[in-house]
Amino acid sequence: MTMSDQEHQRKSQTEGHRNDELSADVTLDSDKANKLKADLDELLSEIDGVLEENAEEFVKSYVQKGGE
């Protein structure tokens, strides 16, 4: 098998897989993307209520010892 044959086979294997098994998920994917966008918007609107109060102090005091 030549290199280009292999490349071709790989390409068609990849694309074949995408067509066969993943196209059915496209609608689902865009739903998921919308959900994630909604989740992000929601998180952004409430994040200041969740974030540690003094960001500067929090970041400065987060010091760990190396592990392992």
């Binding site: 790989r10 294997q13 990849t14 897989h17 995408r18 098994e21 993943l22 998920d25 994917d29 998921k32 993307a33 959900k35 994630l36 989740d39 992000l40 998180l43 952004l44 409430e46 994040i47 969740v50 974030l51 540690e52 960001a55 500067e56 929090f58 970041v59 005091s61 987060y62 010091v63 760990q64 010892k65 190396g66 592990g67 392992e68």
Partner: protein, 494 residues
């Protein structure tokens, strides 16, 4: 034939707060208070923490006893896991799991155990609560690990294993990276990235080596099989990020397990050529948010991290089509892994934001960008760095990752079951059931050994040199309602 890819994840968690500024105290409190609140934990003896330990003698008991009498910072749990203090971090080592899906479940059980430990420990000093983080660095040059272990065939030469797998270890971060702002090492400082894909990658300075804390190697050479050293090697992988995304963990374990099976069955020839400089490659790929930057490879070609992952996926697909993937998992699960891996790769190429419900660095970067835009913040603003850290906070009310909500594979009831029940298909079943039924009779327990105190100076030693045995199918008869310890000892003939 590739051998069963028994696997597990050990995670060192970041820890802050507590009654003392010393993180060793906080870590100890987490482990001790969790153990105290659970009736079914017994001590772990690290003095026998290697496979060549012979038998049992009085000095070992002596070395074991003080651990009980001081602070219970080493414990083995009813699910077969180990929960202990390692250096200055609480560490959870999952039980041995038979498949990547199971490995994910028991990693999630670890998160839940840490949450319960926080609750238990903070009853003692509610005014200075301990907080646990599932991340890998403090942003100041200190890193701590999330290590994976895989069972591989001892007959496979170690250099072949390394040469075949190195492409995966330098490139898989585009799926499993948890992301962070900036850089912490001299090597990465030269590249000066505003944001990196991986928390861990910049800390690697060698291809192979024994160290885990200094001059970290991409492939660790530690050789403690915790089993029959003539048949097994425990490949100890220290280069991964600690994931909260379930899909990331599944693909991390699944892809690595499949590729290891391929090295065993098909050898190194089928793997893509390694980068000429793997250490440069792992650094560069962590800094290349376009995913399109390429590095030189030993065959003269140039490949991006995505190119490597794509070639490795195609190889895994071909392998599964020809050989099945039985060493990794049953057919349905192998398909689930291949589809999840492929889908992430396609999303990363076509429209990376679409992968934000599975890939942590994408989600974190989106969150940071949106927050920065909303408040017109400068790049180095402390609020952005606070978000970077708090993404990994394990407290449900504080965790930004949990609020964002990654795709779920397992829901909480499954995870809770895995907190108390061991996996069925490895020796962890036997260990976990011994802890559940006979914790007060166990003199010593380890990855590959249980010793029962029979009273009157008599002990029964039960070695477990093969991690694929001691399963539910083989040993559940020993733990029925009517069974007792003497019956167990008799039946095992020890």
């Amino acid at each position: 034939m590739a051998i069963a890819k028994i696997l597990g994840i050990e995670t060192e968690y970041g820890v802050t707060g507590g009654p003392s500024p010393d993180p060793i105290v906080s870590s100890g409190l987490l482990v001790h208070e969790y153990a105290s609140h659970s009736a079914r934990n017994v001590n772990w003896d690290s003095g026998l923490d290697h496979p060549w330990a012979e038998g049992f003698s009085a000095p070992l008991l002596t070395s074991f006893a003080p651990v009980v009498e001081t602070l219970n910072t080493n414990s083995v749990l009813a699910n077969g896991a180990r929960f202990y203090v390692d250096h200055a971090h609480p560490e959870y080592s999952s039980p041995e799991c038979r498949t990547p899906r199971e490995g994910l479940l028991y990693d999630l059980a670890g998160e839940e155990i840490l949450r319960q430990a926080m609750t238990a420990a903070n009853l003692l000093s509610p005014e200075s609560p301990i907080v646990v983080y599932k991340n890998n660095s403090d942003g100041k040059g200190n890193s701590y690990g999330c290590h994976e272990n895989y069972l591989v065939d001892r007959s496979l030469a170690f250099n072949v294993l390394v040469d075949a797998m190195i492409t995966h270890f330098v490139s898989r971060q585009i799926i499993t990276g948890t992301g962070k702002i900036g850089s912490e090492t001299l090597a990465m400082g030269k590249r000066n990235p505003l944001f990196q894909i991986s928390q861990r990658s910049e800390f690697f300075e060698e291809i192979t080596g024994i160290e885990t804390m200094l001059r970290r190697p991409i492939v660790n050479t530690r050789d403690e099989p915790h089993g029959d050293a003539t048949r097994f090697r425990r490949l100890h992988i220290i280069n991964g990020d600690a994931n909260q995304s379930q899909v990331s963990t599944l693909v991390k374990l699944g892809a690595t397990s499949l590729l290891l099976a391929i090295v065993e069955d098909w050898g190194i020839e089928v793997f893509p050529a390694a980068p000429t400089n793997p250490v440069e490659a792992i650094h560069f790929f962590s800094s290349d948010l376009t995913l399109r930057g390429r590095v030189d490879c030993r065959d003269g070609a140039r490949r991006s991290a995505w190119d490597f992952q794509n070639e490795l996926w195609i190889l895994a697909r071909r392998y599964v089509d020809h050989e099945g993937g039985g060493a990794t998992a049953p057919p349905d699960e192998v398909e689930e892994i291949l589809v999840a891996w492929r889908t992430v790769l396609d999303d990363l190429l076509d429209q990376p934001e679409r992968a934000a419900d599975r890939v942590e660095w994408i989600a974190k970067r989106l969150l940071l960008q949106r927050y920065q835009d909303k408040f017109s913040l400068a790049d180095g603003d402390a609020r952005l760095r606070a978000i970077d850290l708090q993404f990994h906070d394990l407290r449900p009310q504080k965790s930004l990752a949990q609020r964002l909500g990654f795709q779920e594979i397992f829901a909480l009831p499954d995870v809770n079951r895995a907190v108390t029940e061991p996996p069925s298909n490895t020796r962890a079943y036997f260990r976990g059931k011994c802890v559940t039924h006979y914790s007060d009779r166990i003199a010593l327990v380890n990855w590959d050994l249980v010793i029962f105190d029979l009273g009157g100076g008599h002990f029964a030693r039960i070695p477990m040199a093969d991690p694929t045995r001691g399963t539910e199918a083989l040993t559940s008869d020993l733990f029925t309602a009517t069974s007792n310890l003497n019956g167990l000892i008799d039946q095992l003939g020890v």
